[in-house]
Amino acid sequence: MMPAIRVERLGKRYRLGGPRKSYKALRDILTAAATAPFRTVRSALRGGSLAKAAPETIWALHDVSFEISRGEVVGIIGRNGAGKSTLLKILSRITDPTTGRASIHGRVGSLLEVGTGFHPELTGAENIYLNGVILGMRRSEIARKFDEIVTFAGVEKFVDTPVKHYSSGMYLRLAFSVAAHLEPEIMLVDEVLAVGDSTFQRKCLDKMEEVGQQGRTVLFVSHNMPAITRLCPRTILLDAGSVAADGPSHEVVSAYLSSDIGTKAAREWPDPERAPGNHVARLRGVRIVGEDGRLAESIDIRCPVGIEMTFDVLEPGWVLSPIYDFFNDEGLCVFGAIDHDPEWKGRPRPAGRYVTTAWIPGNLLSEGALIVNAELLTIHPMVQHYHERHAVAFHVIDSPDGDTARGEYSGAWPGVIRPMLDWRTRFEGMVLDEKAAVR
């Protein structure tokens, strides 16, 4: 069977200075042309070469090959600048590749941004038509789905209001709703879920999941690792414009997170002068560790995770309390924690190095990224010695194999924590008398 997408040795070269800065001013060209004879004569007199230096270039994508079968849902991950968006732009035919070729078999819909072409002066209804046609829908198709689009966005009362009067939430919902009703055979989606509030993001993810289940081919670029592992069985990791890994999402994502390509799970401040802190104490390192005490960037939702802080006390005699605050990727503070080690509680510390580790039990955190702030306080009198925001980050990965809090359910799961509760069910036998049972 013919693959839906076949990419062969694809490459894209940009002139250095960023792809968007390469335009020139006619004025410069004209002045250059006017002064050219003089420069030519001058350089010839100096015995210089007349050849111009080639402009510096950068390969945003280099020698990328893969195949995607019909109906496959594939994630594309990689850090910023790894070439993910360039790849989608080439496959969407927005920009030409420099080398190689790609063939796409089927009707393509690309969603690199929601609300492309929305005009603030036009009403919601007018924008639905305009945006729909821009995304490649037929007018008749939009007319058929119009009510569905409006209902999904929840803007029934405002269809005849210009969208400039919409709240940003309504605007996004409407924009996503139009896009969500595209029905191409092959869908290219870029990080559109990175916008909006959490309810909206959930809605988008559910819709994405639905699309995947309809047997359509989806290429999904995201930084949202939980979304990738949930929606895509297969993931391609791009690094510096090339394919670094291609395989089952769980493997590729954890390889990505545990390599130094991903978010840092460990930070060190080797230079004491530059380390966060004051004359009392300095933070020297923070890292995330697994049960085995080794560095870990991604943690199975069932396993405990330790946050280890190394600090030097320079001035003895202070009572010190290490503190962590944990934030999820929506910026919500999930919880804070203060050191309770009875050995050091209320006890002035001698100078020297300390390593303290807080353990978060398994089956407590929800899936997704957690960002850790590290702090050192003296409570009486209140002195903050250091407060390092976003010191480290790690990812909690839920697994679909049935023995986590989500059970067999693989859809969206709400909540910032995901504890395994102790469920007890008692069977009380067959109910013979209805009234007795009610009473």
Binding site: L26, S92, T95, P97, I104, T116, E126, Y129
Partner: protein
């Protein structure tokens, strides 16, 4: 196997490869995107009339006030000949197609840069953008033209059967505006200061076109050569078809049409050649 059956004409396989040099115009694809074209035109018109306080009046004010000023300075003071018809209507009959041309030209010249966001995020034939910008000017044209008809009634000038040729002259104006617009829009993407040359180009061009004066001031063969400026054919055509001047479209109009076509075809190929770089530079 089944793959052979699938590669029929109804299932599209898109091949993406680096394109080099001159490439085809892909007019068929442009036709497939006609709904997009329609909506882009519709959007431009809708937004234009929603945004300006004067709305539709603006379409009339521009040529009408030019006509008043020209009548005063060129008609009354300079006593410019006007082929035997009252100077105000002589000037206005030329200003109506001219305004359509000049606006279409400047709108389409800036169209690609103004649509940068669309170009960077969505694929569609880029030719639709400048085409939509020129077509959207037709509504303004219709309004200004209605005033022209009113003026003709005022001066008791009634059109003859020659009126049937008028759409052709309008088409020539449209083709010329698009042709020059295509060139300028591409240059504008590459060189951002082209935008500032557009008002200068239109102003210069206006005086190179027989708007305030008749082309009958010229003798043959100069008048035919003058037709190399396609707007000469348009303006004299409008006067001939509506006002009954004796500037019958002779060889000059053929030269005008030829020049416009050469510009258009060249512009379209140049546009297609440069198109692939738009998303990277715009």
């Amino acid at each position: 196997m089944s793959s052979i059956a699938r590669t029929g004409p109804d299932v599209s396989t898109i091949v993406i490869e680096p394109s080099r040099g001159w490439i085809g115009l892909r007019l068929r694809e442009l036709w497939e995107y006609r709904e997009l074209l329609y909506f882009l035109v519709w959007r431009d018109i809708k937004v234009r009339y929603k945004q300006t306080a004067l709305g539709a009046a603006w379409a009339i004010i521009q040529p009408f006030f030019s006509m008043v000023i020209f009548s005063l300075f060129f008609g009354k003071l300079a006593k410019m000949p006007s082929d035997g018809i009252p100077y105000p209507i002589f000037a206005y009959a030329a200003l109506v197609p001219w305004t359509f041309f000049a606006n279409g030209l400047s709108q389409s010249a800036n169209s690609l840069v103004d649509s940068a966001n669309l170009i960077r995020k969505i694929y569609f034939p880029r030719l639709t953008i400048p085409i939509a910008n020129v077509l959207a000017g037709l509504v303004d044209f219709a309004l200004a033209f209605a005033v022209l008809l009113g003026m003709m009634a005022w001066y008791h000038i009634y059109p003859s059967a020659r009126l049937v040729w008028l759409p052709l002259f309008l088409l020539l104006a449209l083709v010329t505006a698009l042709a020059v617009g295509l060139w300028l829009s591409v240059l504008n993407v590459e060189y951002r200061d082209v935008r500032y040359t557009v008002p200068f180009i239109t102003q210069f061009w206006m005086f190179a076109t027989p708007i305030v004066y008749p082309s009958s001031l010229l003798r043959e063969p100069w008048r035919t050569i003058y037709g190399l400026n396609p707007m000469v054919g348009v303006v004299e055509g409008f006067r001939w078809a509506l006002l009954g001047t004796k500037t019958a479209p002779g060889p000059a109009i053929a030269v005008s049409a030829g020049a416009a076509l050469v510009l258009l075809v060249g512009g379209a190929f140049y546009f297609r050649r440069m198109e692939k770089t738009f998303a990277d530079v715009v």
